[in-house]
């Protein structure tokens, strides 16, 4: 059943399917971002994937197409899942990182794409209303990219200084640089990182 989906996709799109795997039983296909919309339409109509369960981004700072858009599709009638991924953006993420919007296939993609835009800065071409969803409009940057520091804050109203308050303020940022698990955590800096 599951292998069949990947076979269908491969025979239909050929070289636009870069790689496939079925790790843990999740059928996954990495597809050409230029054919993203076409392949998704095919999944909707031919494979009967009527539900776009999830759409999100993943940042791999050490890879060359750095960002990955991951979509999980599900067919209620046929009970199959398929995961499609497209890799976009160069290492420095210069210029617009773009991919086609699928909001005209599934209405649910509207917010999911807005969230992905908000968190990763991926622009969805043809999206009806691409605004930030979770963060506020004044926010600068895209927080889920690995080079966005977790301890950074962007308060809309500046913190009080000790002079203004007239008393010593032990104001601490939510995350200190020395907080957390120093062994377990990896530091990512823009553009460079460990090769996997």
């Amino acid at each position: 059943m599951s292998e069949r989906i990947l076979e269908t996709l491969k025979s239909r799109f050929g070289s636009a399917i870069f790689e496939t795997h079925s790790q843990f039983g999740d059928d996954t296909a990495v597809v050409d971002p230029a054919k993203w919309h076409e392949i998704m339409t095919f999944c909707r109509t031919e494979l009967e994937c009527d539900m776009l369960t999830d759409l999100c981004g993943v940042d791999y700072p050490e890879r060359e197409p750095r960002l990955e858009v991951v979509a999980h599709l599900y067919s209620i009638a046929k009970r199959h899942h398929v995961r499609l991924k497209a890799r976009i953006g160069d290492r420095e993420l210069e210029g617009d990182v773009e991919i086609d919007s699928v909001a005209n296939i599934w209405p649910t993609a509207n917010w999911l794409e807005r969230e992905t835009f908000d968190m990763f800065g991926i622009k969805f071409k043809g999206h009806p209303d691409l605004r930030r969803l979770l963060m506020y409009p004044e926010f600068v940057g895209h927080p889920l990219r690995k080079d966005y520091p977790a301890q950074k804050t962007q308060p809309l109203i500046e913190y009080r200084t000790e002079e203004e308050a007239g008393l010593p303020l032990d104001k601490q940022l939510p995350f200190g640089p020395d907080e957390g698990m120093s062994f377990g955590r990896k530091e990512f800096t823009s553009g460079e990182g460990e090769a996997s």
Partner: protein
């Protein structure tokens, strides 16, 4: 009585009409979990609505990338804070799928029992809050009294009423207490009694029914297109339940029905939730029947499980194992997985990416309310302003989950 403006021309009577803009929320008693809806009204009819979320955004996914795999459990608790156990179990199952671990049978039953108790608590809160927002305060108190019984059981089992952090990779924090089964068996009939009492008060109330019936209708196809899952989708007549369609734990071994609605209106969503509480009771009774009283609840796998405290204090192996697991975290094999369970509101998915280290590379949560809240705009456009309250209540939007 004669109208006084008989002699006036018709045109003179017309007042300039322009749409009125109204902000509802983010601090509004009916907007549980801080949501803002920007409305454009003509009279009392909503012509445009823009639902804005994110007021409870805490950077859950970013925080998960900073700690170890086990440190995600407290965050998972705070996603859907009405049924934290379901989130705990959902996340534990996802990591176990990635590690290739299968928990012992006793643990599976235990997770099901606790999860279903949490599901009742979720549905009771939603239906109760919905009634309260429509002015029926007494049924809300009944429902909350029933929920209190569940939380007493949870407190006895886990030590916390709300944020349990009870799941572990490869098991649970501790085995069921000696009188867990007795407590459940005692509480369940009482709880159903209270629920039925409240239900009678509501379903024979004309005002309540009128405000729910045929308000906020959505067809099954539209609901699927919007990515709805859980009770809201089933109220539209689509019998999709992860527990039936893709059974996990031992759900394929228990008998239960999936209640579905017909019209997909607010009343259907209300009734589906109440019907699910009854089905959940059936599940819990079967689970209690079949859960073994003896046996381990956690896998015997030193890669993920902490050693016993007596070993930590007396042996060097135990100390090192404990140190490594706490400081570096359990090493999860490289790979990616999407694991999904039936949460209180629908399909709760975790998409995990591991780079082989003790820290997650990416923890993506697929919260069921996120897509459901997206549908609110469609439901309330062209309806009356006062319909927002029951419609929004019936969707059971949980801020912590929706806003990540």
């Amino acid at each position: 009585m004669e109208p006084i403006d008989l002699e006036l021309e018709e045109g003179e009577l017309e007042l300039p009409a322009e749409p009125m803009h109204l902000n509802m929320g983010p601090s509004h008693p009916a907007m549980h979990g801080t949501v803002r809806i920007v409305l454009e009204l003509t009279g009392e009819t909503i012509t445009k609505a823009d639902v804005q979320i994110g007021y409870l955004h805490r950077g859950f996914e970013k925080m998960c990338e900073r700690g170890t795999w086990a440190q995600v459990f407290p965050y998972a608790d705070r996603l859907n804070y009405v049924s934290p156990m379901l989130n705990n179990v959902g996340y534990a199952l996802a990591v176990e799928k990635l590690c290739g671990i299968e928990v012992p049978e006793r643990c599976m039953w235990y997770r099901m029992a606790l999860g279903e108790l949490a599901r009742i608590s979720d549905h009771l809160t939603c239906t109760g809050a919905m009634a309260m927002e429509l002015g029926a305060f007494t049924p809300f108190l009944w429902f909350i009294k029933a929920r209190e019984m569940l939380w007493d059981i949870m407190e006895e089992e886990t030590g916390a009423r709300l944020t349990h952090s009870f799941g572990r990779i490869g098991g649970m924090a501790s085995p069921p207490t000696a009188n867990f089964k007795a407590m459940c068996r005692e509480a369940l009939p009482k709880l159903i009694g209270l629920m039925e009492e409240g239900e009678k008060m509501l379903l024979k109330n004309r005002i309540f029914i009128d405000r729910l019936e045929n308000v906020g209708n959505i067809s099954g196809a539209d609901a699927i297109g919007l990515g709805w899952t859980g009770p809201c989708l089933r109220a539209s007549g689509v019998p999709y339940d992860v527990r039936k369609a893709h059974p996990y734990l031992k759900y394929d071994e228990v008998e239960f029905d999936v209640p579905v609605g017909t019209r997909g209106d607010n009343l259907d969503r209300f009734l589906v939730r109440l019907a699910e509480i009854r089905q959940t009771r059936r599940i819990i009774e079967q689970v209690l029947e079949r859960m073994p009283d003896e046996g381990p609840v956690s896998v015997d796998d030193p890669r993920v499980m902490l050693p016993e405290k007596k070993d930590v204090y007396t042996t060097i192996e135990g100390t090192i194992q404990h140190f490594k697991l706490i400081m570096e975290g359990a090493k999860v094999p490289k790979g990616e997985v999407y694991s999904y369970t039936e949460g209180g509101n629908g399909e709760l998915g975790f998409y995990l990416v591991s780079d082989g280290s003790g820290t997650p590379h990416r923890v993506r949560i697929r919260p069921p309310c996120f897509t459901i809240t997206q549908g609110l705009q469609k439901l309330i456009t062209n309806s009356m302003l006062s319909d927002i309250v029951p419609t929004f209540g019936s969707l059971n939007m949980i801020g912590g989950e929706c806003d990540h």
